[in-house]
Symmetry: C2
Subunit: 270 residues, 2 copies
């Protein structure tokens, strides 16, 4: 996938939360997890930790996936920034980190051009606005060890004059800040991690689920809402099939609520 033509934004799901967004002037690779199937033991203390992840292979050749101009890492959990990404992404590629802590870790892996988008950033004419997230329920955040493990997370709003605005919410549950981001920035495209990943012993999930997809659609019916981060890691409890059944059952507009397969892409114009 190459840089999109003027005023068009192309979204492509690679796998899990790994996506490409091609704005005029630059293609962004977001949250790269590039390991082959079964590379890692399941996340300890989560559902289905007996399964190795990634559950599936990458849908495209790595060379094609790596055709990008900059990388954005919403947070450094291993299903968003893995050993394979650290090893295979060229060290001179610009990498945007959510804060100085993550930037330092990425630099330590040899990356030579690491930038921070905490207070916003710009690349090739596209503004990157950081949004906040909460990587688990309030109940989870009340358990210090769990809150620390989940850590700080971010979303990104991509703003480019004349182009659709895209909001990539990142690993977060539904919060007031997610709502505010949608209301304030009026994104044309909203990308939500709806895999409903769960940790053992806690109610709820550490990312969104099907109800959140509906919430976003009700809040921004003019936008296209895309659910990703499914069927790739051991602790994801929400399948695409269930999500599509839910969309049909709730009578949601299936042209506005998308559940793409790995490798699928979709172009948007304003």
């Amino acid at each position: 996938m190459h840089t999109a033509s003027q005023a068009t934004v192309t979204f492509q799901l690679i796998r899990n939360a790994t996506i490409k967004l091609s704005y005029p002037g630059a293609t962004f690779l977001v949250d790269p997890m590039l390991a082959p199937k079964d590379a890692c033991p399941g996340f300890a203390g989560t559902y289905n930790s007996h399964l190795r992840y990634p559950l599936v292979e990458l849908p495209l050749a790595l060379d094609e996936i790596l055709q990008a101009d900059a990388v954005i890492v919403t947070h450094t959990h291993a299903d968003h920034w893995d050993a394979a990404a650290r090893a295979m992404i060229p060290k001179r590629m610009p990498v945007f980190a959510q804060d100085g802590h993550d930037a330092a870790a990425i630099r330590k892996d040899g990356f030579l051009d690491v930038r921070v988008f905490d207070d916003g950033a710009a690349f090739a004419g596209t503004q990157l606005v950081r949004t906040r997230g909460q990587h688990g329920t309030d109940g989870m955040m009340a358990v210090p060890a769990l809150a620390e493990r989940m850590g700080r997370v971010s979303g990104v709003i991509f703003v480019h004059p004349g182009c659709p605005t895209v909001y990539v919410a990142g690993d977060t549950v539904w919060t007031g800040e997610v709502e505010q981001a949608i209301v304030r920035h009026r994104p044309d495209v909203i990308v939500l991690n709806t895999g409903y990943a769960r940790v053992l012993g806690m109610d709820g999930a550490i990312i969104m689920g099907k109800e959140d997809l509906e919430r976003a659609h009700r809040l921004a019916p003019q936008a296209t809402v895309i659910g990703i981060h499914m069927e790739a890691v051991n602790h994801g409890m929400q399948t695409r099939r269930e999500l599509r059944e839910f969309i049909a059952l709730q009578g949601l507009d299936a042209t506005r609520v998308l559940v793409p397969e790995d490798g699928a892409s979709c172009s948007f114009q304003r």
Copy 2:
């Protein structure tokens, strides 16, 4: 490159010491260094350490390179078994290590099927015979810190009934054991690392050079001798061009002494 047809062995140089050998029944990927160009700072204390390595990109798509049935790691120096290889090679791929020490390190990286070829091994009808090497001159080996850094190294002789025998000498200088391996096993193909990599402050090199290519050819004029491990790491002092000029100057049989480009392959029959 797929598994070769009966009685044919296909050799392919990927880059540096990374090669593929396709025997009937199995393709072996040897000494995978899979990082993109410039991924790592030059080796400290070696020539041209200001240069990042690999000096060049891989010549083929990674997916194609990874089409193999087993991996052989002659030793675990970073230009033979790198972070990219550790991250990108499927964790269920059989990996052959020279000894228990290397096997433990490879298992620690998550590989699930690590085998040792110290006392020989077999895979899909091909015998793997370990040969010894010396990763530097006698003068270097007399310096304990340097000897330890260079470490234990191996070569492999591939023996398959009806097929050409291939001797991959690995990272070694010319020694009596290299000579013995050639005399005893009478390989049809001899692969030598002739990049003449050098460390600072020491005479000679830590791997072979052009004279060693000639030595092998004189010792086994019936064999095809192939020089690799050139123009990919910072401290290699021997270029392909110089090697080819040397071959011409010495009047060596250019059909028996090959200096392949990255990605080039060559098939052999008995």
